[in-house]
């Protein structure tokens, strides 16, 4: 295999050119003040750092985390049963069912968001004053990202060793307990992938909050977009780095919680075995 190692060279070039270098350029830009990318007219400045004291940034970040949290929660509550039912059903063509589920994703996401906007603006729904509310933003975010939760969970459930479930059933464990003790713990990998895949875009997006939030729901993505739109790439870079760090922290938290749960389960299982207990 060693002789194929050189094949990974393009990957490192790509990584250095398109990931690491831009991060350092962004970091350098946080200490400059210039119009857009006019480096020739740049002057040293800490104006970007002075702006970080603005409470609106932290409020918008909090709003983003709240929207992302509820989106993940609802996507999980809806997505898990759907993935479970499809996976454990005796349908002949499960892929067709999944295909139908992702059918709306074949159209541009912006079109779907605008469709919701039009729907919420119709005479019947306009009376509910959905537009401009956090709830409407969360609802549309859920409809946009639900497939990202269903697919990883479904994949894990499909690949699960069904003999473990049979063993549990043979040992007389009730179905609900089998689910809690066997199926769910074994599907946690898919759940955490789904959580990350939904959480990331939900926390950093700006199109939904801008369109459905009618400017009244300001998320961190909206702040970022507005700053870059005004050609302030310096403050925009600092905000981007800050948001990236917050998101990395949140993901580490999710991964940490996941491994903690796994460890606790393993400990519980080994202690049960030691005591000669069953599942």
């Amino acid at each position: 295999m060693k002789r194929f190692k050189w094949l990974s060279f393009p990957y490192f070039v790509w990584l250095i050119l398109l990931v690491i270098t831009p991060i350092f350029v962004m970091l350098a830009m946080t200490f400059l003040s210039m119009n857009g990318m006019s480096f020739s007219k740049a002057v040293w400045s800490v104006d970007s750092y002075a702006r970080m004291g603005d409470p609106a940034i932290y409020k918008a970040l909090w709003n983003s985390l709240v929207v992302a949290f509820f989106t993940v929660l609802i996507c999980f509550a809806l997505g898990y049963p759907v993935a479970y039912i499809i996976s454990f059903s005796k349908l002949r063509n499960k892929m067709l069912v999944l295909l139908v589920m992702i059918l709306p994703m074949w159209s541009n996401s912006m079109l779907r968001i605008v469709s919701w906007l039009r729907l919420f603006s119709t005479d019947g729904l306009a009376a509910l004053h959905l537009l401009g509310s956090n709830e409407a933003v969360i609802f549309v975010t859920v409809t946009t990202y639900l497939p990202f939760m269903i697919f990883p969970i479904y994949t894990v459930l499909e690949k699960m060793d069904r003999s473990l479930l049979e063993a549990s059933r043979d040992l007389g464990v009730p179905a609900w307990k089998t689910f809690l003790k066997v199926t769910f713990p074994l599907s946690l990998g898919g759940v955490s992938s789904g959580v990350i895949m939904v959480f990331l875009p939900a926390a950093t997006g700006f199109a939904i909050s801008q369109t459905i939030g009618q400017g009244k729901v300001r998320l961190i993505g909206n702040l970022l977009q507005s700053v870059f739109e005004k050609n302030n790439y310096n403050f925009g870079s600092l905000l981007s780095i800050f948001v990236s760090l917050c998101i990395i922290l949140a993901i580490l938290l999710i991964i940490g919680l996941n491994s903690l749960v796994k460890k606790a389960k393993a400990k519980l299982a080994s202690s049960s075995l030691n005591k000669g207990g069953n599942l």
């Binding site: 003040s33 210039m34 119009n35 857009g36 990318m37 006019s38 104006d47 702006r51 603005d54 409470p55 609106a56 940034i57 409020k59 918008a60 709003n63 906007l117 603006s121 306009a126 537009l131 401009g132 801008q210 009618q214 400017g215 009244k216 300001r218 998320l219 909206n222 702040l223 507005s226 700053v227 739109e229 005004k230 050609n231 302030n232 403050f235």
Partner: protein, 403 residues
């Protein structure tokens, strides 16, 4: 033999494709940077056939993007149509070229000193000058207008009209003017929000402090004042193109916008056969704007660019463009053409006996601001001046305080 035939045949096809592609592409290309749906496409086609060239059109959605595209010089645009303060910025930084105003073959360009509406010319003389004087030979106004309010005229909305006429933009910030709750929309451009607030206070929208100073950034006191007033205003919706439609359909009682937006909505509503239950008010204290044709300093086809601007300044072409786009014309000659057509009994929309048709004379008498956006408002008309990135970011901070 068979192999040789395939090779020769393939080479022939490749050569034909290459040759036709190269020959079909005119060597005379004009790169035009404009806003979306802001030029009559048939005029572009006419220009292409007259001057045997190809016009490549690229559009932007904000003044900042327009500036950035010209400054970045990654594409050498031959003609761009930025807004007034972007023109001032571009001129100050030497990013636009002087137009060929002395070329006798370009008569409409050469007549620039006397061709534009008087009110517009006054604004140009007041705002578009540097140490060498007015630099009108660097830009040719394209369309113009003023910041205004579109409001509903349905039963129960009378208070809005009265408030706008009496208090101007204060009608957006003083809920005490109404006996019942009103639904008010505000444009989601941070700088416009601040401008609307300052205008509502009878202040110059370019000041950075209450004392009237104009610094690099807004004063902390001004930022706090704007933040608290914005919170108190409780706008029901922030948006852009959607606002005018919402007033037209009755979802909003009024919204802050630009004059062109009103005429755009009016035409659309007429086309859809809807009742016109909205109107426009240009308050006494307002700000005017105009977009202009300029030639960026990186242009590759200076001669063709000048010909294009001259072509668009031809009264007939400018009239055709104004009718297609619906924004207020900048040329005096176009204003006269409108009046002449009105006298002849031309229609603004539809034809004689067609349902919902509107005579041009009725349109002009109902909406005099179309041909004269600043009619009777010469005392308190401002224009938005170029501002620093720090100022614009602080405006965003004020808007973001609503988060």
């Amino acid at each position: 033999m068979k192999k040789a035939f395939i090779i020769v045949f393939s080479a022939l096809i490749a050569f034909t494709v290459f040759a036709t592609t190269v020959l079909a592409t005119p060597s005379n290309i004009l790169y035009l940077l404009n806003w979306g749906e802001y030029i009559d496409m048939s005029l572009l086609a006419e220009f292409e056939s007259t001057y045997h060239c190809q016009v490549v059109l690229e559009t932007v959605t904000s003044s900042e993007a327009m500036y950035q595209k010209i400054a970045a010089s990654t594409t050498s645009y031959d003609v761009a149509i930025p807004g007034d303060y972007t023109v001032a910025e571009l001129h100050e930084e030497g990013l636009i070229r002087r137009l060929d105003v002395n070329n006798p073959d370009l008569p409409y360009l050469g007549a620039y000193k006397t061709s534009f509406s008087d009110d517009l010319s006054s604004l140009i003389y007041e705002y578009m000058k540097d140490e060498d004087g007015v630099y009108n030979d660097y830009f040719m106004p394209y369309f113009w207008g003023a910041y205004c309010a579109i409001y509903g005229t349905r039963p129960g909305e009378e208070e809005v009209e009265a408030a706008l006429k009496e208090k101007g933009f204060e009608a957006f910030y003083n809920r005490g003017l109404y006996s019942s709750p009103k639904k008010i929309g505000m444009y989601d451009t941070a700088r416009w929000i601040l401008a609307s607030y300052l205008l509502s206070q009878g202040l110059d929208p370019n000041i950075t402090d209450r004392d009237g100073s104009k610094d690099d950034d807004l004063s902390p006191a001004m930022v706090e004042e704007a933040k608290s007033k914005l919170k108190e205003a409780h706008f029901d919706e922030f948006g852009n193109d959607q606002l005018k439609r919402n007033v037209a359909t009755g979802s909003l009682d009024m919204c802050f916008t630009q004059l062109g937006d009103f005429f755009d909505t009016l035409f659309l509503s007429l086309e859809e056969g809807k009742d016109i239950e909205f109107n426009v008010a240009v308050p006494k204290a307002t700000a005017a704007f105009f977009d202009s044709m300029v030639i960026p300093s990186t242009c590759q086809n200076y001669s063709l660019a000048n010909k294009f601007i001259n072509f668009m300044l031809n009264p007939e072409k400018a009239y055709q463009n104004a009718k297609a786009i619906g924004y207020s014309p900048t040329l005096k000659s176009v204003v006269e053409l409108y009046k002449e057509d009105a006298r002849k009994g031309a229609y603004y929309f539809g034809e004689e006996d067609s349902k919902g048709s509107l005579l041009l004379s009725d349109f002009l008498s109902r909406y005099p601001v179309y041909l004269d956006p600043l009619a009777g408002k010469k005392d308190a008309v401002y224009m938005l001046e170029p501002k620093s990135i720090r100022y614009l970011t602080t405006c965003e901070t004020i808007f973001n305080s609503l988060a």
